[in-house]
Amino acid sequence: MKEYLLILVGTVFVNNIVMTKILGLCPFMGVSKKLETSLGMGAATTFVLTLASASSYLINHYLLGPELAYLTTLSFIVVIAGIVQFTEMVIQKTSPVLHQVLGIYLPLITTNCAVLGIPLLNVQENHNFIESIFFGLGGALGFTLVMVLFAGMRERMEGADVPEVFKGSAIAMVTAGLMSLAFMGFSGLIK
């Protein structure tokens, strides 16, 4: 059980997929204007990612096997698209407000490189079923945590006296850069 926790904590803090692996930047930049939207987006991405890493393991292990390995990326994308579409319908039904506020970024989860990246990493480091789920969950929670923190910072920066040239996404990029600088402090924490 210890190594599962280690994977989980590892992917949330040490090698955070947004901060150290620099994956999933477009929703990270696009949705983090407001706290509620980033929470919603985080929840949606966690839901999709956990399902995706679970189903990608099953597909890779049982359906494709070694000789069809070249199909992994293709099949993963199809599965992820299916799951995202399913999630969009669930969200539209349960909370139309969140669906409207997330807007275009909800279907965009399909193209989120983190959502495809993590299953591929799972395959690369051939995690077993439980490990890949924890890895997916950890990656998504790391993504959500960092995006919510980033949304908090951006909401406070709204009122800052930022020079005209840097207003909006420019200062957001700088802040994201400094955030990943800070996350480098964790490097080496987990061997």
């Binding site: 494709l64 099949s75 199809v78 599965v79 399913f86 539209q92 039904k93 409207q100 997330l102 807007g103």
Partner: protein, 182 residues
Amino acid sequence: MLAALLAMSAIAIVLGAVLGYSAIKFRVDGNPLADKIDAVLPQTQCGQCGYPGCRPYADAIANGEADINLCPPGGEEGIQKLAELLGVEPKPFGSDAQPKPKSVAFIDENTCIGCTLCIQACPVDAISGAAKQMHTIIAAECTGCELCLPPCPVDCISMLPLEENVANWKWKYPVYALRPSK
């Protein structure tokens, strides 16, 4: 090669089934967004946005036909609220639709001939009067939409901007020199 096709089609079939089922189960209709947009609009029903009133403009924005900066009475904060609601970038006003200070219509009583054309034109029934009787505008109800100006045959209606008095005076945004006062 055959196995690959089989595998992919298997995935496709499974996903198709799941999505088809959930499409039926999670059907949703109606568009609650239009009501929310209508709640933000200033309800002057003035038509300056090109739509016959606020509700049609709200529906137009909801299904994406209309832009959010066509409502001068809503002013700057109107666009801000619409942008926040729709999660888009707030756009400044176009050159034609500049917001004007809030004003109220006023009927010059010596030229009014009591033809009731303005009464029929007023979207919020803010003009009291009858055929051949004197007409007057209920200042409290008038939204300043200027729809009563064109139909008046004798042009006796003029728009008076609301002047500041002790009751509706507002504290101003504090301005202070960054340099020391001396």
